[in-house]
C-alpha cells in the first residue's frame, strides 16, 4: 500500500512523451499554478489521427503520471477515439489513483480536450 500504484510510479519516474512538440498543431493547457497543477499537451494531428504527442506538467506525481499515461493512450489513435478518452480510463490504466488525486486524471482528459478544441478553432 504505497501512496501510488506501481504503474503510477513507473509513469512518474519514466514519463513517456515528455517535452515540447515543435511542430504541434494542437496545444491545450489546463489547470493553474495557484492550485498546484498545470498540464500542457502538444499534439500533431494529421489525417484525423494523433501522429505525435508530447506533454509538459507542473504538478504532483500523479499529475505527471496521468499526463504521461494519457499521451500513450492517444498516440497514433484516430480523433474519434481520442475524443472519447475519459479520466476514468486514464485512472484505470494507471491501476487507480488515491481519491484526492482523481482530479489529476481529470486534468489530463481536459488538457487533451482543450488541445482538440484548439485544433478545431484553427481549422
Amino acid at each position: 500500500m504505497a501512496l501510488y500504484s506501481e504503474k503510477v510510479m513507473d509513469h512518474f519516474r519514466n514519463p513517456r512523451n515528455l517535452g515540447v512538440l515543435e511542430d504541434a498543431n494542437a496545444i491545450g493547457e489546463v489547470g493553474n499554478a495557484k492550485c498546484g497543477d498545470i498540464m500542457k499537451m502538444y499534439l500533431k494531428i494529421e489525417d484525423d489521427m494523433v501522429k505525435d504527442v508530447k506533454f509538459e506538467t507542473f504538478g504532483c506525481g500523479s499529475a505527471i503520471a496521468s499526463s504521461s499515461m494519457a499521451t500513450e493512450m492517444i498516440k497514433g489513435k484516430p480523433l474519434s477515439e481520442v475524443e472519447k478518452l475519459t479520466n476514468k480510463a486514464v485512472t484505470e490504466a494507471l491501476d487507480g489513483l488515491p481519491t484526492h488525486k482523481i482530479h489529476c486524471s481529470v486534468l489530463a482528459e481536459q488538457a487533451i480536450k482543450s488541445a482538440l478544441e484548439d485544433y478545431r478553432s484553427k481549422k
Binding site: K40, E56, C60, G61
Partner: protein
C-alpha cells in the same frame, strides 16, 4: 537512506528503547497499585517526572504526562480559556502560523464566543514582541505563541513575549514541540506559564508527551476518569513510554551543544548550496531558526514530485505543497509569511538528524539541484517564467 524529516518524527534512541523494554518486562505493574511491584512503577514514573522537569527548569509537580504534543496543546489552551471564562475574559492572542493543534483548538473556542487575535508573523517568520504587547487588552486571558515553527523553524522571542505577558498578568503558553531537546528552554528565565512537548520529536517514543503548567495554574481535564496525574489526566500511565521519553530527553539535552554545532554547520552548508539554485528562496530568518531546519521554495515546480524523486534518491523530506497535505491549499505557514500559492506549492523542508554527515549534506545539495532542474525542464510554468511570459516572483 538519508532521513531528513526529523521535524515530522525521529528515530528512537537506543538508550530510550532499552529503558522502555526494561520497564515493559520488569515494571509492568500499575503505579496506582499499592504492592511493591506497583510502587516500583510509580517510582519510575516520578523519576521520569523529575528528570523532565529538571531539563526545562520546572518543578516535578508542574509536569503532566500526556499522549503527545497535540493533547498538551489542547489541554493548555482549554485550561487557560476556562480560567478566562471565569473572569469574563474571552480574548486570546496567538499567531497565524501555529500548529493545527493550537489553531483548531482556537477555532473551537471562537465558536464558543472567544475572540481570537492571530498576530502577523512577518516575512522572516518572527513575531514582534511589541505587537504582542499592543494586542493585549483587558479581556485577554491567554497568549499562545509557538517556540519554534515546525515548518520554517523560526525561533520566536519567547523570553520577551513572556516578560510582556507577566507584566500584563496574562497567561503565556508556548507550543515547544519543535524546540524541546533542540534548543535550551528555561521556563523560569523565559517567563513561560505553560509549555507543550512531544516525545517523538526528540528520539523518544511516539504517543507520549508532556504539559508543563506553572504551580498555581488550575488545569481543566481533557480526559476525565481516574486520579492519575494528580487528577488532571486520567488513564493508566504509560510508564515504559514515559520513562523512555525522559531518557531520550536527558540524552539529547546532554549532547545539545555538540549537536547544535554539528547540525548548524551542515544546515548552513546546505542552505548555501541550495541558494545557488536560481529563483529559490530560504523561508524564515536565516539565523533565528532551529539548527536542523532548512525550508526553501523553488519557483516553477511542485513539492510532491520533488519529494518523490528525492525519495527515489534515498532522501526523505517534506513539503508544504497542497498535494502533500491532502488539502487544496498549500501550507498555512508559508502563506502566513507571505508566499503566494504558486510559490508555496514548490516548497521543501529538510529537517536534519544529529547523525548527518558532510557527505550526506553534499549529496542532499546535489540531489535537490538535480531534481529541481529536472522538474523545471518540463514544467510549463517554468517555461513561461523563462520566456518572460509571466514574471518571476522569486
Amino acid at each position: 537512506m538519508i532521513y531528513a524529516d526529523n521535524a515530522a518524527t525521529t528515530k528512537m534512541s537506543d538508550a530510550a528503547i532499552d529503558v522502555m523494554l526494561t520497564h515493559i518486562k520488569e515494571n509492568y505493574g500499575n503505579p496506582s497499585s499499592l504492592y511493591e511491584f506497583g510502587q516500583k512503577a510509580k517510582e519510575v514514573l516520578e523519576e521520569a517526572r523529575t528528570d523532565v522537569a529538571r531539563v526545562i527548569n520546572a518543578q516535578p509537580e508542574e509536569i503532566l504526562f500526556t499522549s503527545g504534543g497535540s493533547e498538551a496543546d489542547n489541554q493548555a489552551i482549554l485550561s487557560a480559556a476556562e480560567l478566562g471564562r471565569k473572569q469574563g475574559k474571552l480574548h486570546i492572542i496567538s499567531t497565524a502560523f501555529e500548529h493545527h493543534a493550537v489553531l483548531h483548538t482556537l477555532e473551537k473556542l471562537k465558536k464558543q464566543g472567544f475572540e481570537i487575535t492571530l498576530l502577523d508573523v512577518h516575512e522572516d517568520g518572527l513575531i514582534r514582541p511589541s505587537e504582542v504587547e499592543a494586542a493585549i487588552n483587558d479581556n485577554t486571558c491567554l497568549v499562545t505563541v509557538m517556540y519554534a515553527n515546525n515548518e520554517i523553524g523560526t525561533i520566536q522571542p519567547i523570553k520577551e513575549i513572556g516578560e510582556i505577558c507577566h507584566r500584563k498578568k496574562v497567561l503565556f503558553h508556548t507550543d515547544a514541540v519543535q524546540a524541546i531537546g533542540h534548543v535550551p528552554v528555561d521556563v523560569v528565565a523565559e517567563n513561560i506559564d505553560m509549555l507543550s512537548a512531544s516525545s517523538h520529536k526528540f528520539h523518544g517514543p511516539k504517543g507520549v508527551g508532556f504539559l508543563y503548567a506553572r504551580k498555581g495554574i488550575a488545569l481543566t481535564n481533557l480526559i476525565e476518569g481516574g486520579a492519575q496525574e494528580r487528577g488532571k489526566r486520567a488513564g493508566t500511565e504509560n510508564v515504559p513510554g514515559i520513562a523512555a521519553m525522559a531518557t531520550a530527553l536527558k540524552e539529547i539535552c546532554s549532547k545539545m551543544e555538540k549537536n547544535t554545532a554539528h547540525v548548524k554547520a551542515l544546515r548552513d552548508r546546505i542552505i548555501k548550496g541550495l541558494e545557488e539554485i536560481p529563483h529559490s528562496i530560504l523561508n524564515g530568518d536565516a539565523q533565528k531558526r532551529l539548527p536542523s531546519n532548512i525550508n526553501f521554495c523553488f519557483e516553477g515546480i511542485e513539492g510532491e514530485s520533488l519529494l518523490l524523486l528525492l525519495d527515489d534518491k534515498g532522501i526523505q523530506a517534506s513539503s508544504g505543497s497542497a498535494c502533500t497535505s491532502g488539502s487544496l491549499d498549500p501550507s498555512h505557514v508559508l502563506l502566513a509569511i507571505g508566499r503566494v500559492h504558486d510559490v508555496a506549492h514548490g516548497s521543501l523542508r529538510l529537517s536534519l538528524g544529529e547523525d548527518l554527515s558532510e557527505t550526506d549534506a553534499d549529496y542532499i545539495i546535489k540531489s535537490v539541484r538535480e531534481v529541481v532542474e529536472y522538474l523545471r525542464s518540463f514544467s510549463p510554468v517554468w517555461r513561461d517564467l523563462s520566456s518572460g511570459k509571466i514574471k518571476h516572483l522569486l
